[in-house]
Amino acid sequence: MLQIKNLHAGIDNEEILKGINLEVKAGEIHAIMGPNGSGKSTLASVIAGKEEFEVTQGSISFEHEDIAALAPEERAHKGIFLSFQYPIEIPGVSVTNFIKTAINEGRKAKGMVDMPASEMLKMIREKAELLEMDRKFLSRSLNEGFSGGEKKRNEIFQMAMLEPKLAILDETDSGLDIDALRIVANGVNKLRNDKNAILVITHYQRLLDYIVPDFVHVLLDGKIVKSGTKELAYELEERGYDWIKEEVKIV
């Protein structure tokens, strides 16, 4: 589904991603872990198409199509979704109206007519229920004054509404309390099937108890330096990153 080859990207001549190789197949869950500032969010943004970052080498393809030249919204229409580490506040636009606009823009891109209002309403209800979201959030301005956890839950609500093929969850767990983490993770799991895939970025093994990864990658200074199975996440939790840094030095 997603194929990244020797990806180099940066900003203002400062290289942040220094040769990433990653392949995610339909039905898989991949986790990316790594110290602060190693480039996890940058990788997520580059996949989603943030123009601020310049891709200097390598390629990103999605479902066998090079997507490097596509605008973020076009990537979204193809089925890529990014849940932000720091969701943006958009005053004056309610959650409901925002998601309606997003869904109908996606349908327009596919040559479909707007989703009928009743169907939209039903879907919004269902997904809000799935994430045990208080209805009052739906009429509030998007993320404005939301707590950290509420913002994250709202990201997953949008994911549930948009039903992406590839969901990139950038530290969705940070800010969620223990109960909320379980609810949100269960929500994500219910959205899974063998046709979609998830890339989770996290600092903590705890999330991976719920959203169980097939592969765990360690990103260090813009490169994936180690990949393994879910046991690697336990090892990182236990031992930190120093031993990996040592390994990299020796190599």
């Binding site: 943006i88 636009v93 997003a102 891109a109």
Partner: protein, 437 residues
């Protein structure tokens, strides 16, 4: 002949015929002298530095339209707030249209200045209020000299006018170029309340230049909500000088929506004479091409324990120019004043400009006074966020602009008007509102 000379000549040609034996006549004579001395403002004056009038003054305006012109209601219906019942004071090319108007003398006076100036029963009110808060700057003086027609609204004590009042000035384009000088007088007596909507609308692309003066008096505990809709053709220019004198405990709120016109200058002046007054000044400006909108506000805090809130937002595209000059004077006696001023702007293009300047003159020591001004582009991060959800960049931009501008509408108290303005803003910005925000 320059417009100035033409105006002065025409004044002396007609002066003997208008209210020759009333005290108004003396006011007119003084006013025309003041205008003659000062002339039209030029860019040399600080207050007019960014707002050049020369291009507008070049037209050969008809200054006294004589013909009575008519318009079919169906042709202008859209300019009225026709969804609800309102009083209407309508002028066509400066002349009152009884056909399009709906005035009243039932408990309140919603009628014409021409009648008030000529009939003895209004003499006391005219003597007490007419030209009492308007200043003698050149353009206001010019208006005073010629003031003949406009809205005359007096709301007696304890009355709440149940319907909003619309004051609409149409220009038909029957004159090649038209100069209009409406003059409005509004008195809201003790504990009374009124809602007023004012607009100037040209129906063709013939040049129109309007120099309107409005005086508003709010007596003790009175309140007024005043809405100015400035969405005229790009061939029409407007200089609007509005003066409010507030007595103790009164509440005055003026919203100015500036979307149209070639050049629009708002001189909005609040004088807080009594204690515990509340003044609100809000504005949304969205312009493009070569349009210019200039807001010069003044809040003069004269008495203690008063509040003022100013919130102006502007979105500038094309080669448009915005000016915001917000002056707050807190006089020595005006202790415990709470004055707030905010002016936020978004420049969409590199060729658009905004000149924003707060001007605070504070002579009291125990006051709360804050001001802020921002000039920026649209938030890139917010745009990226929306794009990752599949919303096109253009649509994302429009939504952000819409959200930016429309929060000023929260204080619009007439729901139908709010819906109208919301739609106007959406149209201006090009956002397709499949929903109500």
């Amino acid at each position: 002949m320059s417009l100035k000379d033409k105006l002065i000549t025409s004044y002396f040609a007609v002066e003997d015929y208008i209210d020759a034996d009333s005290h108004i006549h003396d006011l007119r004579n003084t006013a025309i002298k003041s205008f003659e001395e000062k002339g039209f403002p030029t860019k040399k004056e600080e207050a007019w530095k960014y707002t050049p009038l020369n291009a507008i003054l070049k037209e050969d305006y008809c200054v006294f339209p004589k013909k009575e012109n008519t318009i079919e209601f169906k042709d202008v219906k859209k300019y009225f707030l026709h969804e609800i019942d309102t009083y209407k004071i309508v002028f066509i090319d400066g002349i009152y249209s009884s056909f399009l108007s709906e005035t009243t003398h039932d408990k309140v006076d919603v009628c014409l200045l021409s009648a008030a100036l000529s009939k003895p029963k209004y003499k006391a009110v005219i003597e007490n209020y007419f030209n009492k808060v308007a200043k003698d700057d050149s353009l206001t003086s010019l208006n005073t000299a010629f003031a003949k027609e406009g809205a005359y609204i007096v709301i007696p004590k304890h009355r709440e006018v149940e319907k909003p009042i619309e004051i609409i000035n149409f220009a038909t384009g029957n004159e090649a170029a038209l100069f209009l000088q409406p003059r409005n007088l509004i008195v809201v007596e003790e504990n009374a309340h009124v809602q007023i909507i004012e607009r100037h609308q040209s129906l063709t692309s013939n040049p129109v230049f309007t120099n309107v003066v409005t005086e508003i008096f709010t007596e003790k505990n009175a309140s007024i909500d005043y809405y100015k809709i400035q969405n005229d053709n790009h061939s029409a220019s407007l200089i609007d000088s509005t003066f409010l004198l507030q007595e103790q405990g009164s509440n005055a709120c003026v919203h100015t929506f500036s979307f149209g016109g070639k050049l629009t200058r708002n001189n909005l002046n609040f004088y807080q004479k009594g204690e515990r007054n509340n003044s609100t000044l809000k504005g949304v400006t969205i312009i493009e091409e070569n349009q210019l909108v200039d807001h010069h506000t003044l809040v003069n805090h004269i008495a203690p324990n008063c509040e003022s809130h100013q919130n102006y937002k502007g979105i500038f595209a094309g080669k448009s120019t915005g000016v915001f000059n917000g002056k707050i004077i807190v006089e020595k006696e005006a202790q415990k004043t709470d004055a707030f001023q905010q002016n936020n702007n978004i420049l969409i293009t590199d060729n658009a400009t905004i000149n924003s300047k707060p001007q605070l003159e504070i002579f009291a020591d125990d006051v709360k006074c804050s001001h802020g001004c921002t000039i920026g582009q649209l938030d890139e991060e917010a745009m990226f966020y929306m794009q990752t959800r599949g919303i096109h960049k253009k649509e994302a931009q429009a939504l952000l602009m819409f959200a930016f501008a429309s929060n000023v509408l929260e204080s619009v108290k007439i729901p139908e008007l709010k819906a109208r303005i919301t739609k106007l803003i959406a149209n201006k910005i090009g956002v397709d509102l499949g929903f109500n925000l």
